[in-house]
Symmetry: C2
Subunit: 254 residues, 2 copies
């Protein structure tokens, strides 16, 4: 069976996350799988992703894999999926043939996320559902400084969701940059892989530094404690966007 | 009666434009006027705007004026309007006291719009409703070159809507820049004032140059003809955003 890689953009707002829901609630995976069934003699294939994003989380370039019974050109797969995923806010940006043993999830050696805060008094109109609205002025430089102390390989138990199913909490944080752009504060985060809620817990904790409620050294002391109860709130999902997945072997995207 | 200036951000998608509709269809003006009635002993005031945007057109910083019976601090007006405009995607970014004879529309000496095209094969997911989706590759440099021939003071009859109510079609186009940013092509347009559909007609005409269907000199020859029938299509409203209104007298925004 030919395997395909898909690069997918989606607005997370109407979905209960990437993953297909047992109770039939709408998910990105279900939308793509049901579109793919049209290319697969009605048989619904399983579509796996590099990052199983939570409800409300967006993607600019999620990567997924798909097996089909028949051998189609990747252009054809991309076009057909974009036809059948309508009118959902899910768009297949690119497609590629992938090796038969390739996995969007397990072959991925780097994941990048952006978290966006709208940091102003009036509520968002144009960016509603795309940002976390934080009214109190944030010190992005202080957050950036605090973030640099979290880089490298650590036990991130303190920043892990209670529901996290990973075997261990050891992760290597490669990038955690915090920058201000006018009324927005953006976090750019990269690692080989993340724990469940890790990015949102890091953001929620750093925001307490940005508000001046905690010292710059506090997020690091939370990390060292390995105690989830010490970290800040989980930042809301709508500010988070899956930006990119990196693979050792390049794919021939069209 | 104290007069206030309001700077307003809105998502045009759910509205039949800025202007209050005789048939009661939702408009931005109505949302703000009804919110303002809460500050005005229930009396609904009239709110005028610098740019009466069409259905589906967005604003990052529309400017409007509002008269109230009572004298409130501008902060109070801004906060109260943001409370009462919920849950509509309309946000009062700033407010200011304005002179009694000041008009958001007639005192405005410069208006700036952005038009955004998503220029790629797959349909938009994250930018659905915010861009015109043009699949065929556009030559932004050719469009920019053609656009420069339209700058200055001209009779823009060829780029005016049939429904335009302006007394004459003489307008001075100060800026019409076309630039590519990855998969997007953006138009930045500035003038003291515009005719109805002028920006969208300019975009729709320049796109024919970008697609290679017409020479770079064509939009200028359309202008010189003063014949609306010769111009390209009216670009769809969802790609257009009102960016800014300029005034000779600075306002004391809060």
């Amino acid at each position: 069976m030919p395997r395909y890689a898909l690069m997918v953009e989606y607005d997370g707002a109407p979905f209960h996350g990437w993953q297909r829901q047992a109770d039939g609630l709408p998910s990105v995976q279900q939308v793509i799988e049901e579109a793919a069934a049209h290319l697969n003699a009605g048989v619904v294939p399983v579509v796996g992703a590099a990052g199983r994003t939570d409800a409300g989380v967006h993607a600019e370039a999620q990567v997924a894999e798909l097996d089909l019974e028949a051998d189609y050109a990747p252009e054809r797969v991309r076009e057909a999926l974009n036809f059948h995923t309508r009118p959902h806010p899910v768009s297949i940006l690119r497609a590629a043939r992938a090796p038969e043993d390739w996995s969007a999830r397990f072959a991925c050696i780097g994941r990048a996320y952006r978290y966006r805060i709208l940091n102003r008094r009036p509520r968002p109109a144009l960016e509603a559902g795309r940002v976390w609205h934080v009214q109190a002025r944030l010190d992005a430089d202080a957050m950036h400084e605090a973030a640099q102390m979290l880089l490298g390989k650590h036990d991130f138990s303190a920043y892990r969701a209670a529901s996290c199913q990973a075997k261990d909490a050891l992760r290597t944080l490669d990038r955690l940059d915090v920058s201000r752009y006018a009324d927005a504060v953006e976090f750019h985060v990269e690692a080989r892989s993340f724990l469940h809620h890790q990015v949102r817990n890091l953001v929620g904790t750093l925001v307490q530094v940005g508000q001046g409620k905690r010292p710059i050294t506090w997020p690091r002391s939370v990390l060292d404690s390995r105690d989830r109860a010490r970290a800040g709130q989980t930042a809301p999902p709508e500010g988070l966007t899956f930006l990119a997945a990196r693979y050792a072997e390049p794919l021939d995207w069209v």
